[in-house]
């Protein structure tokens, strides 16, 4: 079969003038790409093992390393690309489903990059956020339709359960098991410090992290791992995971080899047993069944916590969201097709679902048209890369956003997209003790808090420029957006005008 061997995608380039044979790269690479040739007394590399995670590059004390894309090439063909050929070869070899991780990397349109923001000139003032009040606080939850008064005529101030965030950003669901304990601890501590919430994902909540409960969303997914009364009661909100942007319609599978120690304990399944999340919730085959799950969770927690229903952005997302809003959910989270994952079939990840910008705009429109937008808050996730994306998402109609990939990058992820191998050199998507230690939660959480603070300042600057000093006045304020290079239909769905109009 040697004739079909595939030339590696990346080449490790070592500057031998600089290399001191300190062998740090060898120790750092869990994939074994670096080898020390004892007989020749020098380092060598096996490019085929390199995933381009930059760990060796970052750790090399003499900057002797860089990773380059190979210039080895197939005969040029704009249809049968090298990528297609390689994938066919791999499948012909193995008979397997292609597996990938993190979000869809393909060249679909990025609507965020074709939307521009407004700023005030003359007719109303921009506001200087460094010196004047600029409010980014957000409440998520259902709003009552009517103000009710007591017998003395005073307003009854009992709001339905809600959560309060200092900025319109939450850390999206990433389970303990798919990421390491240290990563989870970093997320929890960052959320607490920044005054926002993180999400346990579907792997339960490690006992050490229960004290971050008021900054925690506990997730209930189809596998129900680690779901019990105390777990449900410990979070500030409960999320029912119906779908995920990276793999709509697909369940999850954490192999038994990863179900060890605390993960087994937290998920409440025996060590070595596979953790399978079915594709659907088998108690939900229709919208009324969703309502049943929502209310059973509300009953179990005494109607004290908002219930989030998370869905992947799919074709008829607006109708689905309308159904969810009428089923007792307090918050709807929509996950766009750029959303990340620890592992997903490549074809699903790259070909199923729709962009969050379009999904969000059409959900917000639909809920407004039906007059039920106030019944739920909307969280948009799946590909939020910067504070500008946050501002655009809110102006399109979101109450807040979820960030996953961006948060992991702050913790050290270099987007090599090899989470599914379990050999994350940055200590994030791994359970190997030696690798996990590379992520120190003490500085990991600080990096994440730094990122959130920087975004907060940027959000405030952009709001100030628009003359808006409360984030709620930005929500759904689509006149603050203009499209560039978008066609009529795209503009219509986004509900925005073209630049120049």
């Amino acid at each position: 079969m040697a004739a079909f061997d595939i030339y590696p995608e990346y080449e490790i380039v070592r500057n031998n003038e600089r290399c001191t044979n300190c062998r740090v790269c060898e120790k750092q690479c869990a994939n074994g790409a670096h080898i020390f040739l004892t007989d020749k007394n020098r380092m060598a590399a096996d490019d085929a093992k390199c995933v381009n995670c930059h760990r060796c590059v970052a750790m090399c004390p003499v900057r002797a390393l860089k990773i380059v894309k190979t210039d080895h090439t197939f005969r040029e063909n704009s249809y049968w690309t090298g990528k297609s050929i390689k994938e066919i070869n791999r499948q012909a070899e193995s008979g397997g489903v292609l597996l990938s991780s993190m979000g869809n990397p393909e060249t679909y349109p990025v609507y965020f990059d074709r939307i521009l923001l407004n700023a005030s000139q003359v007719t109303n003032p921009s506001i200087d956020p460094l010196r004047e009040p600029m409010e980014t606080r957000v409440y998520l939850g259902s709003k009552p339709e009517k103000v009710v008064r007591d017998e003395k005529g005073r307003i009854k101030v009992d709001l339905p359960p809600h959560i309060m965030l200092s900025i319109p950003v939450m850390l999206s669901a990433m389970s303990y098991g798919s990421i390491s304990y240290n990563a989870h601890e970093s997320l929890a501590r960052a959320a607490a410090e920044a005054g926002i919430l993180y999400n346990t994902g579907e792997g339960g909540l490690h006992e050490n992290l229960y004290n971050y409960g008021s900054n925690t969303i506990v997730q209930v997914a189809s596998g129900r791992f680690g779901v019990h009364k105390k777990y449900l009661s410990s979070g500030a909100a409960i999320e029912i995971k119906m779908g995920q942007g990276a793999k709509p319609g697909i369940g999850g599978h954490l192999p038994g080899t990863k179900i060890v120690g605390d993960i087994s304990k937290t998920r409440m399944i025996p060590e070595g047993s596979d953790a399978i999340s079915p594709a659907p919730h088998h108690d939900i085959y229709s919208i009324e069944d969703l309502s049943q799950l929502i209310y059973s969770l509300k009953e179990a927690t005494g109607y004290s916590k908002p219930i989030i229903v998370k869905i992947a952005a799919v074709h008829n997302v607006a109708a689905i969201a309308s159904g969810i809003a009428r089923s007792g959910a307090d918050i709807i989270a929509i996950d766009g097709f750029r959303g990340g994952t620890g592992a997903a079939p490549t074809r699903i990840r790259d070909h199923v679902g729709i962009p969050i910008e379009l999904a969000l705009a059409s959900v917000d429109n639909r809920l407004c048209d039906e007059g039920i937008r106030n019944r739920v808050s909307i969280v948009a996730g799946g590909g939020i890369r910067s504070s500008a994306d946050v501002v655009k998402a809110i102006a399109l109609g979101a109450d807040c956003v979820y960030i996953g990939t961006a948060a992991l990058i702050a913790l050290g992820c270099h987007l090599c997209r090899s989470c599914h191998t379990g050999k994350c050199n940055w200590g994030i998507a791994t359970q190997r003790e030696d690798l996990m230690k590379r992520l120190n939660p003490d500085w990991g959480y600080k990096r994440l808090v730094n990122l959130l603070n920087a975004w907060k300042h940027e959000i405030m600057e952009m709001m100030g420029g628009m003359g808006i000093n409360a984030i709620e006045s930005l929500r759904g304020n689509r006149l603050m957006l203009r499209g560039v290079g978008l066609n009529e239909k795209e503009l219509e769905i986004l509900g925005i005008k073209h630049a120049g109009e």
Binding site: N124, R154, H162, C368, M466, I468, N469, S473
Partner: protein, 362 residues
């Protein structure tokens, strides 16, 4: 081009006069007041709302309607006759002056809903009237109802406000409250309906400033059956006030706490009961917060309210003399009609000044 075809923000001058004893006075005073602020308008719109001017028909809704032509008038009158008992109809008296041109047909109807139609609709009377007004304004081409309250009326046109006042012979009306507006739009309007005040039932609003929350406010209020056809700030502010007052039964102070909500940092310093109520109102009606610079005067049956945005980005002065209360964008506009004042002050941002006819007064 006319209002509704484009977003039309504008800067402006506002003025209001109110008698707490309910004593009626001539509309001449409000013309004199608004004229002082000539430089705050650019001749592209002026108008007035006057309260207590139709005592002889005080139980009827007074519809003031612009018509583009007689066909619109015919169609609209058929609709009105179908839904209302019309006690009186006439052209609104005007004075031909060179400053005001391109005059539409301007008619006035005193009407009461037909009892059978009202019963059939299963609506309360005011909602019935509102729906009829919306229906005319959106479905009958060339007809536009710009005033629909009882014992009050709006008078507006394209022109400087002092000319608009002379055009409508406002000095011949007597009321207990007048509010006025001189417009400085940033887009070019060519239409009388787009001038201010904007009114729905007995609530009328004049406004100075350009709000930055417009589209958030619009999309939210349109969920409750309103249609922002003019795309002006004043229209959306009027609908928000109408919704909070007529459909949520909030009082005016509570409405101020919604549309010019205090900052969270300020709410946190308030005593518990206050704080809980303010938090509640801000959470529940967050998308009705009006953001950006504004000063507004709201006229309503038996009262008047003045309010600045929470940062107080627009100027507004209040003056008092005996039973009279004056509000204007500039103090000079008060002094010119009342030189000596018992008290004059600038309300803080977000602090509504609400005056009503005192009990026991006429």
């Amino acid at each position: 081009m006319r209002e509704g075809m484009f977003r039309n923000p504008s800067g402006c001058a506002i003025s209001g006069i109110f008698s707490k004893s309910g004593k009626r006075f001539s509309g001449k005073r409000i013309i004199d007041s608004i004229a002082v602020m000539h430089e705050r308008s650019n001749g592209l719109g002026g108008g007035f709302a006057a309260y207590g001017i139709y005592p002889e028909y005080k139980d009827h809704y007074a519809f003031h309607i612009f018509y583009d032509d007689i066909y619109a008038k015919k169609e609209c009158e058929e609709y009105l006759e179908d839904h209302f008992d019309i006690a009186s109809l006439s052209q609104i008296p005007t004075r031909k002056i060179p400053e005001i041109t391109d005059t539409p047909l301007i008619w006035r109807y005193f009407a009461a809903p037909l009892p059978a139609k009202l019963a059939d609709s299963q609506l309360d009377e005011r909602e019935y009237v509102v729906r009829c007004v919306f229906r005319i304004n959106t479905a009958i081409k060339g007809a536009y109802v710009f005033s629909s309250g009882k014992n009050m009326g709006v008078f507006k046109a394209v022109g400087f406000p002092e000319d608009v006042g002379r055009f409508y012979r406002l000095e011949e009306y007597e009321g207990y409250c007048f509010i006025a507006h001189g417009r400085y739009p940033t887009n070019t309007p060519g239409w009388w309906g787009g001038a201010h005040p904007f009114a729905l039932l007995d609530f009328s609003v004049v406004h100075n400033g350009e709000i930055s929350s417009y589209d958030a406010n619009r999309r939210s209020i349109e969920m409750h059956g309103y249609k922002c056809t003019l795309q002006t700030d004043t229209e959306v502010i009027a609908y928000i006030i109408d919704y909070l007052h007529r459909k949520q039964w909030l009082n005016l102070n509570e409405i101020c706490s919604v549309i010019a909500a205090p900052f969270w940092s300020v709410i946190e310093t308030r005593p518990r009961e206050d704080r809980e109520e303010l938090e509640y109102l801000r959470c529940v009606f967050d998308s009705l917060l009006i953001n950006g610079p504004f000063s507004i005067i709201v006229g309503f049956e038996g009262g008047m309210m003045a309010l600045n945005d929470r940062l107080k980005l627009r100027s507004m002065v209040v003056g008092e003399k005996d039973d009279m209360v004056y509000v204007a964008s500039e103090e000079a506009a008060i002094r010119v009609i009342q030189k000596d004042l018992d008290r004059v002050w600038s309300p803080k941002g977000g602090e509504g000044v609400i005056v009503t006819i005192e009990k026991g007064s006429a």
